[in-house]
Symmetry: C2
Subunit: 276 residues, 2 copies
């Protein structure tokens, strides 16, 4: 049976990223339907709003079914006017804000803070600095900066260290370095001296050897580096080291960067620094 | 007047990141209130659920006002049981899924796809590869890989290139390199030869010279690099180059990485590759 089709719009006077992400999450729950999504960010003038409404109405006529429109508007007038489109309009913020407003007996300010703008310049800057820190301290580089690190991720090559560091910087403003374990690091059966001073900030990432083999095989097919044997040896040694030295360990096999990051925040009890 | 206080919980059987982000956005609209937020991810067993409910109820007694609880549960039983807590429970997905379900006359599957797990392994891998690409091609390094790039961001030091590349990789799986313009690049009044072959993939980032001065001043106080004069000269030269060579330009002054990224997607018409 052919998939049903349905047009979807994301319309916002800001980035629309919140609505886009939520829409994507919700729509995957209807796998019987093929959704065709159009994102219209920065709809912040009468002209752009009218164009957006026209576009939605045109698609409605072409499709013969009304488009689903997810909106996040700070502008109250636009929030109201978009409702006139021939569409199912889902206002992501309004319904929740109504509930919260009644609960706390307060009016929402409808101020900045929607859709990923810069709210608190200091906090925003520190998030950007955290991203640069992750770049500057990737892959064992720049250990002199480890005293500034919130976390130092340790693990074999391609165990997920780099993407996790970047994610924690981007979303939580955490300073994360990462250090790859190589053959040399096991010679004295201890932690590399670079890391020893920072033991309380270390997290060991581990991964199923077979999964690691697949990842490495894709990167450097049929290399010594990618061999299953090699992966098994490296993973076992790394896990032994983590256990032996009492280093917090997290398994990254088959889970996403977001899941790894959430697990690390939970295990380490690090604060979650909110985005501005 | 002292701020009112209110406790907030984010409870999920997955990462809870969607609920957390939405909650944060909504709660900033009530600046009169100081919210104390507790995140409880991976609540995926009866035991953990009962613990979460107990914790919420204890806080309710201690606060004397009911906590606000944002939940995203895939598990239907847990969705129902969390409602028994002495709290305002806001189920982020259910209300929207109800609306969508009625509109399309289909039942939601309540399948994977919630809360940032790995859904499509191929897509997930390419997102991870994109992050590694951004790391490997940061700051003008590795120009041999530019033929794989979706975008190459060009601009003076600290105009926002690196965080934007990382964001586009992380969230849209785009391959983005970045190239810093330095004094040497203007000698022949043209594009660096490294870039000339990829003109259709270039985006020039520009920034207000005063803002750049502030950013650099924080990084290397009172250096030649940070001087306002120097910033003005560099910005003017970069903008002249972009105009002269017809390079798409985006101003990053005072806007966030998310806003820059959204602007670039809009200007270039690059597809938005959804997260798994």
């Amino acid at each position: 049976m052919a998939l049903a089709k349905r047009s979807v719009f994301i319309v916002s006077d800001r980035t629309g990223l919140t609505a886009e992400e939520l829409a994507q999450t919700l729509l995957t729950q209807f796998p019987q339907v093929h959704f065709m999504t159009t994102v219209l960010p920065f709809v912040d003038s009468d002209h752009k709003l009218n164009e957006a409404i026209s576009q939605i109405n045109m698609i409605q006529e072409a499709d013969g079914s009304r488009p689903i429109v997810f909106v996040t508007f700070v502008n109250a007038d636009y929030r109201k006017r978009i409702e006139q489109a021939d569409a199912l309009v889902i206002d992501v913020f309004s319904s929740f804000l109504g509930i919260l407003s009644r609960e706390m007996n307060l009016m929402p300010s409808w101020q900045a803070g929607f859709s990923h703008g810069v709210i608190d310049q200091g906090r925003y800057n520190s998030r950007i600095d955290a991203i640069h820190f992750a770049m500057d301290c990737d892959d064992g580089v720049n250990p002199d900066a480890y005293d500034q690190a919130d976390l130092i991720l340790v693990g074999v090559s391609r165990s997920g260290k780099t993407p996790t560091c970047v994610y924690l910087a981007m979303h939580f403003g955490l300073y994360c370095a990462n250090y790859p374990l190589t053959e040399d690091d096991y010679l004295d059966d201890g932690l590399p001296s670079t890391l020893d001073a920072y033991r309380d900030r270390l997290v060991g990432l581990t991964i199923d050897a077979r999964r690691l083999h697949e990842i490495r095989q894709k990167r450097r097919p049929d290399s010594e580096y990618a061999k299953l044997d090699q992966c098994q040896i490296e993973v076992r040694r790394a896990e032994d080291l983590f256990r032996h030295r009492g280093i917090l360990m997290a398994d990254t096999s088959g889970i996403s960067v977001e899941e790894i990051a959430t697990t690390l925040l939970q295990k380490t009890g690090l604060r979650r620094e909110y985005l501005g």
